[in-house]
Symmetry: C2
Subunit: 344 residues, 2 copies
C-alpha cells in the first residue's frame, strides 16, 4: 500500500467522449495548464478511443493528436504527459509522433482477455524510452484469475504498470478488492484502477482499490468520461485528502480547474448523468453501443430493452456481436409469451 | 447481517430540500403510487426539516403535512408510511395528526450528541402505536463511542431502530464501517444508515454499512436530497441486486418511478449536483448554511472561503454559531498576512 498514489487526469482523453471529442487545442491547453498548476501527476491526451481514434467509426475529433500534443506539452512543467494507444486503432507512426512531442507515458489498452495482441506495442514503447502502462478494459468480463494471467502477459511484454479498467462501471467494491489484491500479489509491477460511475461507485471503488494496494488511479474533472463518466477528479482528491493520503494534486487547484476552467467550456447536456441508461449498462455490464440496438429490438419484439441488456450481459457478449441482440429479443419474446409485433 | 435490507425512500421528505419543499400533494401522490407499485418498503413524507418545518425559517412548503399525508396514504398498499419529527420543530399535535392519517413509522431526529432531548417524543410515538426510529444527525461530528452512547439512549427511550445520518456526506467507507459495526454490536435494535453524496460515496458507504450489519437504508429517486443529495435510490437498488441482496423494491419499477414519474416534474436546476460547494461541505464536514457566510466573510477579509469552512469543520462548529465565522475569517487573514479589506 502506498500513501502517495499517483493521480492521473483523464479529462483530455476519456473526457473527450463526453464532448464528442470536440475539445479544441486551445481548450486542452487551458485545462492542462490548470492541472499542471494544481500539481496533477499525469494528464492523458488523446481521442477518447486513443491515438488514431478520430474516424467516422469512433467520431471525428476537433483536431489531430499532434495538434493536441503541441498545444498541451508546453503547458506542463512537472506534470507528466500520457497518450493512449489501442492496438488496431493507433499506429507506430502516431506513437513516434507522440514520443517526439514529449509524451512520457504510453498506455496500451486491450480487452481484458486479449493482452496477447499487445506484445509488439509494449516492446516498441519501451524501445522509444517511454513508460508503458497496460490497461485491461471491461475487466468485469474476466475472472480474477484470468485478469492476473493477462496482466502477467503485459508484465512479460515490458509493462511498467497494469490497470484494471472498469469500463462499464459494473464492479462492486468487493469485486474490486478481490481483483486488485490478486494482481498486487501476483505482479512485480504497479497496479492501477480506473472506474466508471454507472453504479454510483466510482469514488468508493477507487478507495477500495487503493486499500488493496493499487498505487495509481484515474479520474476526470467534473466526472467527465464515457457513459456515466469516470471518477470525479476533484471529489477524488478531496476524498483522498480526507482519507489521509498524501497526493500531489492540490485540492483547491483541482477544484478550480474543474469549475473555473473546464465547466464554462461545457454545455449542460454534455455532463455525464447517472440516468437509467447508464445505470442499466453498469447493472448488465454491457457496451453502451448495445443500448440503441436493444431499444430497437425490444420495440420490435415487445420485450423490455432492459431484459435484453441483462441477458446480453449474462452471455458476456462483446462488441462486434450486435447481431446476437435480435436473437436474444426473439427468444425473450417467446419465453415471455409476447406477441411479436409486425416489422414496422 | 441481513440479506434483505429494508429500503426507505426519502424522495418526499429529504428530496423536498431539492425542490424548495414545493412538491404538490398531487405530485406526491403520483410519486408515492409509483414507489408502491415498485414494492418500496417505506416512503417518508414530510417537509424536508420534518413535520412543522414549513416556516419562514426553514422554507414554506407547498402544502401542509396533513394535505400531503391525505394525498399519499391512499396510494400505498404494502409500502409503509413514515414521517419525520425533529424535537423543537415538530409538535405532538402533528404527530397525532400523522398517526390518524395512517403513518406507520415516526422517525425522530436529533443532533448526534443530543439524543437526550428525544425521550418524551419516543415515548409518545410508542404510546400511539407507531414504530419509532431514532436518527443521529451529522454523525461525523461525534466519535464512534459517543454515537453508541447516544444510540443506546434512544434504545432506552423505546426506539425500534437507530440510524446514523451522514448529513454532511463527510464520512469515508472506513468511518462508516467503524461506526456501524460498533452500533450493531452494542445495540439490540436495528441499525440504519443514511448517506449524502458530497464526497461521491453515498452508494459505496451504504454498501459498507450493510456489510457491517446495518439492516435499513435510505435513498432518493434521482439522488434528490439536501446538498449534493442522498443515495440515488434506483442506483442503490441496482447495486444491491448486483451484490446479491434480496430487496423488496423492484429495479425496473424504481427506475420508472425515477425517470418516468419524478424526472418530468423537475427543473434542470433543481437536480442536486456534486459541485465545488457541496464537495467543500463534505470535505470540511459543515452545515450548508455556512457557505453563504463563509463567502461573505472570505471576501471581506481576503481569505479563501474554503479555508474558513475547513477551519469551522475542525472546530466542530454547529448551527447557531454563525457569528464564529467572522472570528475565523479575521484570524485566518492575520495568519495568512492578508490585508483586511474595508467594510464594503
Amino acid at each position: 500500500m502506498t500513501n502517495s498514489p499517483r493521480v492521473v487526469d483523464m479529462t483530455l482523453r476519456d473526457g473527450m467522449h463526453a464532448v464528442d471529442h470536440q475539445f479544441t487545442p486551445d481548450q486542452m491547453a487551458e485545462i492542462a495548464g490548470a492541472l499542471d498548476a494544481a500539481d496533477m501527476d499525469v494528464v492523458e491526451v488523446s481521442h477518447g478511443d486513443g491515438m488514431g481514434g478520430s474516424s467516422i467509426n469512433y467520431g471525428m475529433a476537433a483536431a489531430s493528436t499532434e495538434e493536441y500534443l503541441e498545444a498541451v506539452a508546453p503547458q506542463l512543467s512537472d506534470t507528466e504527459l500520457s497518450v493512449l494507444l489501442l492496438p488496431g486503432i493507433g499506429t507506430v507512426e502516431e506513437l513516434d509522433m507522440a514520443a517526439d512531442h514529449g509524451a512520457d507515458i504510453c498506455r496500451i489498452a486491450t480487452h481484458a482477455t486479449e493482452a496477447d495482441i499487445s506484445q509488439d506495442h509494449f516492446e516498441y514503447v519501451k524501445e522509444r524510452g517511454l513508460e508503458a502502462n497496460g490497461l485491461l478494459m471491461l475487466s468485469h468480463m474476466a475472472t480474477p484469475e484470468t485478469l492476473l494471467e493477462q496482466a502477467q502477459l503485459m508484465e512479460e511484454y515490458g509493462a511498467d504498470a497494469v490497470y484494471l479498467m472498469d469500463s462499464a462501471g459494473a464492479l462492486l467494491p468487493g469485486d474490486v478488492r478481490e481483483r486488485v489484491s490478486l494482481l498486487v500479489d501476483g505482479l512485480d509491477i504497479d497496479v492501477g484502477f480506473h472506474a466508471h460511475n454507472n453504479l454510483g461507485l466510482a469514488v468508493g471503488n477507487t478507495l477500495a482499490a487503493l486499500d488493496e494496494g493499487a498505487v495509481t488511479v484515474d479520474g476526470c474533472l467534473r466526472g467527465l468520461g464515457a457513459g456515466s463518466g469516470n471518477t470525479q477528479m476533484e471529489v477524488l482528491v478531496g476524498a483522498l485528502d480526507r482519507a489521509g493520503y498524501d497526493v500531489s494534486p492540490d485540492l483547491y487547484g483541482t477544484m478550480d480547474a474543474a469549475e473555473e476552467v473546464l465547466l464554462p467550456m461545457l454545455d449542460d447536456d454534455t455532463m455525464p448523468e447517472l440516468d437509467n441508461d447508464s445505470l442499466m449498462l453498469g447493472y448488465a455490464g454491457v457496451y453502451s453501443s448495445f443500448l440503441r440496438h436493444a431499444r430497437r429490438e425490444g420495440k420490435r419484439y415487445g420485450v423490455d430493452p432492459r431484459d435484453i441488456l441483462v441477458e446480453l450481459g449474462e452471455m458476456e457478449v462483446v462488441g462486434g456481436q450486435e447481431d446476437l441482440i435480435t436473437d436474444v429479443a426473439e427468444r425473450l419474446a417467446e419465453e415471455q409469451g409476447n406477441a411479436v409485433e409486425a416489422d414496422d
